[in-house]
C-alpha cells in the first residue's frame, strides 16, 4: 500500500506554508520527514490527513483517492496520525484511551447499549484483551488505570501511538514522537516502531532527533520553507550540501 501526495499546497495570507510538495510513502517502510521549525511539516500532516483543506494537491492511499475525504474517512482508510502536542483524552484512563480507538464497536450505538447489553459485554471483553496486550507491548502497565492527563509527555506520546495502533491502521503518521521524551523511552518507542514495521505497518515520522530517526528510517524527505528540497536514503540526503545549508545551517556542529 502506498500513500501518494501530489502537488500539495497551502498558503496563509500570501505565504506558502506548504508549496507544491509531492512524494510517495510505502506502508512497508519507515519514512522520515525532517526540516527546520516552521518548514511546514506539521501542516503537511494536517493536509494529508484531512485536518486542513489545501489550496491544491491530491492524496491517495492504497490507490483510493482521498483528496476530498473527511479526516474520519481518511483514518478509516488506514492512515492515522498523531499530533505534535499530544491530544490524549485527559479524563479517561490510559486503558479507556485505547478502548475508544477500537473500530466498529456496536456499543457506540445507543440502541444496542440498551437492547443488546450481552453482545456489547462480549465485544468489550475482546477489545479489552486487545488493549491490555497493547498496554503491555508499550510498557504502560503501571499507568494503565491512571487518567491520561497526568502522564509524562513521553507516556502521552505512547498512548497516542497505542490509540493509532488500536484502530488497525496500516500507515501511522507520527509528529515528533521523540520531542521531550527521555532517552530510555525513545529506545522503547523506536523498538516498537521497528517491531511493528516488521509486522507490516508503515510509519511516516516527523522528527528533529536525527540520530534516533536515521536509525529507524530507510528514506528521508527534507522540507524547507514549504518546499521539498531533498529525498532519499539518510546517508545520501544528510550529505547533500543544500540540506546541510538549509537544515543543519549554523547548528551543524
Amino acid at each position: 500500500m502506498t500513500l501518494r501526495i501530489r502537488g500539495m499546497t497551502k498558503a496563509y495570507g500570501g505565504l506558502r506554508v506548504v508549496d507544491d510538495v509531492s512524494f510517495e510513502v510505502s506502508s512497508t517502510a519507515v519514512t522520515g520527514i525532517i526540516g527546520p521549525n516552521g518548514a511546514g511539516k506539521s501542516t503537511l500532516f494536517s493536509l494529508v490527513t484531512g485536518f486542513l483543506d489545501g489550496d491544491a494537491g491530491s492524496v491517495s492511499f492504497a490507490d483510493k483517492d482521498l483528496s476530498r475525504a473527511s479526516p474520519m474517512a481518511r483514518a478509516r482508510a488506514g492512515m492515522v496520525r498523531t499530533f505534535q502536542v499530544p491530544r490524549e483524552f485527559t479524563h479517561l484512563t490510559v486503558r479507556e484511551n485505547l478502548l475508544t480507538a477500537a473500530p466498529n464497536q456496536s456499543g457506540e450505538g445507543l440502541l444496542d447499549v440498551f437492547l443488546r447489553p450481552g453482545r456489547i459485554r462480549q465485544e468489550e471483553e475482546r477489545i479489552r484483551a486487545e488493549a491490555d496486550a497493547m498496554i503491555a507491548f508499550l510498557k504502560l502497565d503501571r499507568v494503565a488505570d491512571s487518567p491520561a492527563g497526568g502522564l509524562s509527555g513521553g507516556q502521552k506520546k505512547l498512548v497516542e501511538l497505542g490509540r493509532a495502533l488500536m484502530t488497525g491502521a496500516r500507515l501511522i503518521l507520527l509528529d515528533e514522537p521523540f520531542a521531550g521524551v527521555n532517552p530510555v523511552l525513545i529506545e522503547t518507542i523506536s523498538d516498537r516502531v521497528r517491531e511493528l514495521n516488521a509486522r507490516g505497518i508503515g510509519f511516516l515520522i516527523i522528527e528533529h532527533d536525527l540520530a534516533a530517526l536515521t536509525k529507524l528510517a530507510s528514506v528521508l524527505h527534507v522540507m524547507d520553507r514549504g518546499r521539498l528540497i531533498a529525498s532519499g536514503a539518510p546517508s545520501v540526503v544528510l550529505s547533500d550540501p543544500q540540506v546541510r545549508d538549509a537544515y543543519l545551517g549554523g547548528a551543524a556542529a
Partner: protein
C-alpha cells in the same frame, strides 16, 4: 406549608430533568447548549396543544419528548460541526426563534396571551394526593433518566462522548465522527427538556411565551456548574441549590415587602449572573469538585 413544600419539590423535579439533559450535553460531551429553554418550550407547547385536543397524558409526555428531540435534529445536524462557541450562539438564537414562533403563530399557540386551562395530571385525584401523584411521576421520570444515563456513561457510547469532550480532533483522527455522537446527545438532552416542559405545562396549567426566556437556560447552567459539571449527581445537587436561591429570593420579599415583583426579577437575573461569573472563575468544576464520572 406541606403543600408549599410539595409545590417546590415538583418545580425542583422539573428543573432536575432539565439539568440532567444539559449535564449530559455539556458535562459529559462538552456541547455548549445556550438554547435549552427552546426545547423546554417545544415540549410545553406540544403538551398544551395536544391536550387541548383531548389527547391523554400518556401520549402528550412521550410526544413532547419526541418533538423536542425532533426540533434538535436539524439544529444539531447543521450546527454541531461548528466550533463550540459558534454552536453556543446558534443554539441561543434557536431558542429565541422558538419563542418568536410561539409568539407570532397565534392560530396555533394563541400568541402572547398564551394557552390557559391546560388539563392537569391525575385530575381525578384532588388536592394533596394529586400533587403527590405529580411528584411521584417526576420521581419516576428522573429515576429512569438517571438510570439510563448511568448505563450510557459506562458503555462504549459514554466513553466516546467523554473522549469528544476531552479532545474532538483526536476523536476524528481515530476515524470516528464526533458530530454523529453529539447529535444523539443533543437530541437526548432535548427530549429530557421536552418531557420537563410537558410536566410543567400540565402542572402550571397556563403557558405563555414570556415563560421561556433565555434566563431559564442560564439558571440551568448555574445549577449544573454549581452542582459539579459531568456528575450525574451534580444535576440534582445544583438544582437544589438553585431552588434555594430562587425560593430564598421569594422569602426575601416577605422580609422586605418594599421590593416589588419587578425588582425581584432583576435581583434573580443578578444572582444568576454573579453565580455564572464567580463559578467560572473560581470553581469551574463546581462545589462538588472535579469530574468524577460515576
Amino acid at each position: 406549608m406541606e403543600a408549599y413544600l410539595v409545590a417546590i419539590a415538583i418545580v425542583t423535579g422539573i428543573y432536575v430533568l432539565l439539568a440532567l439533559g444539559l449535564n449530559l450535553q455539556y458535562g459529559l460531551t462538552g456541547i455548549i447548549n445556550f438554547g435549552h429553554v427552546g426545547f423546554f418550550c417545544v415540549g410545553a407547547y406540544t403538551a398544551a396543544i395536544l391536550s387541548q385536543h383531548g389527547v391523554s397524558l400518556f401520549i402528550t409526555l412521550p410526544a413532547s419528548a419526541a418533538l423536542a428531540a425532533l426540533a434538535a435534529w436539524p439544529l444539531g445536524l447543521v450546527s454541531l460541526r461548528l466550533r463550540d462557541d459558534y454552536f453556543a450562539i446558534v443554539s441561543l438564537g434557536f431558542s429565541e426563534v422558538v419563542r418568536l414562533i410561539v409568539t407570532s403563530e397565534r392560530w396555533l399557540t394563541n400568541g402572547v396571551q398564551g394557552i390557559p386551562g391546560i388539563p392537569r395530571m391525575f385530575a381525578d385525584l384532588s388536592g394533596m394526593s394529586q400533587a403527590s401523584a405529580v411528584l411521584g411521576l417526576l420521581l419516576v421520570l428522573n429515576l429512569v433518566a438517571i438510570f439510563a444515563m448511568r448505563r450510557m456513561v459506562s458503555s462504549p457510547f459514554g466513553r466516546m462522548i467523554e473522549a469528544i469532550r476531552d479532545n474532538e480532533e483526536a476523536v476524528k483522527a481515530l476515524g470516528k465522527d464526533p458530530a454523529r455522537f453529539k447529535l444523539r446527545v443533543l437530541m437526548l438532552g432535548s427530549a429530557l427538556a421536552g418531557v420537563g416542559g410537558a410536566v410543567y405545562a400540565h402542572y402550571i396549567g397556563f403557558i405563555a411565551p414570556e415563560q421561556f426566556i433565555p434566563l431559564i437556560t442560564f439558571q440551568i447552567w448555574m445549577a449544573i456548574i454549581m452542582g459539579g459539571v459531568g456528575r450525574v449527581s451534580g444535576a440534582l445537587v445544583g438544582t437544589i441549590i438553585l431552588m434555594v436561591f430562587m425560593e430564598g429570593s421569594r422569602f426575601l420579599r416577605d422580609v422586605l415587602p418594599f421590593i416589588s415583583e419587578v425588582e425581584m426579577a432583576s435581583v434573580r437575573i443578578g444572582i444568576v449572573g454573579l453565580a455564572l461569573i464567580l463559578f467560572t472563575i473560581h470553581r469551574p468544576q463546581g462545589l462538588m469538585g472535579d469530574y468524577t464520572r460515576k
